[in-house]
Symmetry: C2
Subunit: 287 residues, 2 copies
């Protein structure tokens, strides 16, 4: 069996063909332009391989309600060329195979849950802290969805005393994404994130707000593990800082046996999105 | 079929016998004392009726992991006489019928979901704002649980500028419960909640913090409805205030078609806990 997988991001589409053991058989990276051009190039790549199904983890918002008439359509995105684009239906039409679509973070969460840092638990949150902040949740092998898909990166957090940074979220100012995304960190520090020294006080605020969000996810979703990935988390000194803040804020209200394993980095390098997208595709082939 | 149901609270146990149509056949209210005395009185009541199963919605924390050795046991509660008390096993032993146990808010959520304000949707959050603040979540007819049961009443919220009230939560100070529970409101106003006038500014802060929590639940759980009950919500002028603040904070990030129906009062008067507990019991009889 061959499976197609796309990690559809705002700057690039990572297209991959995998076998049933998640071995990559072929792969290409496409620069994201308008939907017609980008999909035409992706379809050319996949047509070279007899794939049985295609899975896509895409930027959102996407309509994931399978009872909806616009199921699999990109909704109100700032990427105007993609607004209202029927991503799932178009790929299905172009490639003639079943297509499963979910958000990029839900796909990444599924990838880590099945094959990475969540392999040994029944439920896991995956949060990515990068250009944006997003999180997905998998429970009992299924991606969690509701009326819409979660938008956990935009929850409100309590501001640190004396922190007057206004945040960068266009919708909410100082929501989590507005405070800890890559652009937020750079705006706060005045220099590129990679150039900020490890002992700069900016990291304490980043760790504090991420920890607060993890406390909230813990109190609401009660996952067995929280996996944090994304570009900002390449600053690996953040992990112990986040765990310490998490413990301080939660104040033993819920017993977490092993904090080091509870809050953990991803294990699939940067392949969790593609591997998760392949998982979505496998689920609709029924094998 | 007759079903026993208990709403097990810190001050009273409401015990009820219902038929399969949720008609109450008998009912008594017991003052909560230590577990032996309280359960002896409850068992005397239920022994008068040939019940097929018993459902309990109880104060927590409770071990709800059915793979755990202490399944159905009250855990680390400030009500010290109840700490580590095997509530489910004791009731099962005393009455000789199957016993299902969940938290009080999960039971209330199930009651409203199946027979009250959530009857026409696929998922609902029920939040109670009273002496404490707690919330449950039902999705696809099942109570949501994870590593533990949710403790959504204790999420952190962003403080209003100029609000220096320190909050009353023993664990977290100014978490949601610490800011909007009945005792928090009375401490902030200096008088009993029922005596505070409708236009007192304290209500604006209560509405703001509750709205923030509802935004966070919406972004994480994506429920189709949020039902708010509990003693504080008898102040029904809070509902429109909460909806308005919710809309302002969410800032159209997720489209909610009908806010009036999305954020709504309960419909089962104060019977949602007992009716939900009966639902838990029915589920384990398999009928």
């Amino acid at each position: 069996m061959l499976i197609g997988a796309i990690e559809a991001g705002g700057t690039k589409f990572v297209c991959s063909v995998l076998d049933e053991f998640n071995e990559t058989k072929d792969r290409c990276v496409i620069r994201t332009r308008g939907p017609e051009e980008t999909l035409a190039e992706a379809a050319d790549f996949f047509r070279k391989h007899p794939i049985d199904a295609l899975g896509v983890g895409a930027f959102g918002p996407i309509d994931l309600n399978d009872r909806s008439e616009t199921y699999g359509t990109i909704k109100n995105t700032p990427k105007t060329a993609w607004k209202d684009f029927p991503l799932r239906d178009e790929l299905k039409r172009m490639l003639g195979v079943p297509v499963a679509v979910d958000t990029d973070v839900n796909a990444a969460c599924l990838g880590e849950f099945r094959f990475g840092a969540g392999r040994d638990v029944d439920s896991a949150v995956y949060i990515t802290v990068g250009t944006g902040v997003g999180a997905g949740f998998v429970k009992e092998d299924q991606v969690f969805k509701g009326l819409t898909h979660p938008e956990m990166g935009h929850i409100k957090v309590s501001r640190m005393v004396d922190d007057s940074f206004e945040g960068v979220c266009l919708y909410h100012g100082d929501c989590l994404e507005g405070l800890v995304s890559g652009p937020a960190i750079e705006k706060r520090a005045g220099i590129s994130g990679a150039d900020i020294s490890v002992d700069d006080p900016v990291w304490a605020s980043v760790a504090h707000y991420i920890a607060q969000a993890l406390v909230n996810y813990t109190l609401v979703l009660c996952p067995e593990r929280i996996i944090i990935g994304g570009g900002v988390m390449k600053q690996s000194h953040l992990y112990p800082m986040i765990r310490k803040e998490f413990q301080r804020i939660l104040n033993d209200y819920i017993t977490i046996e092993d904090l080091e394993s509870y809050i953990t980095p991803p294990k699939l390098d940067d392949d969790q999105g593609v591997i998760g997208a392949a998982g979505l595709a496998k689920d609709i082939t029924g094998s």
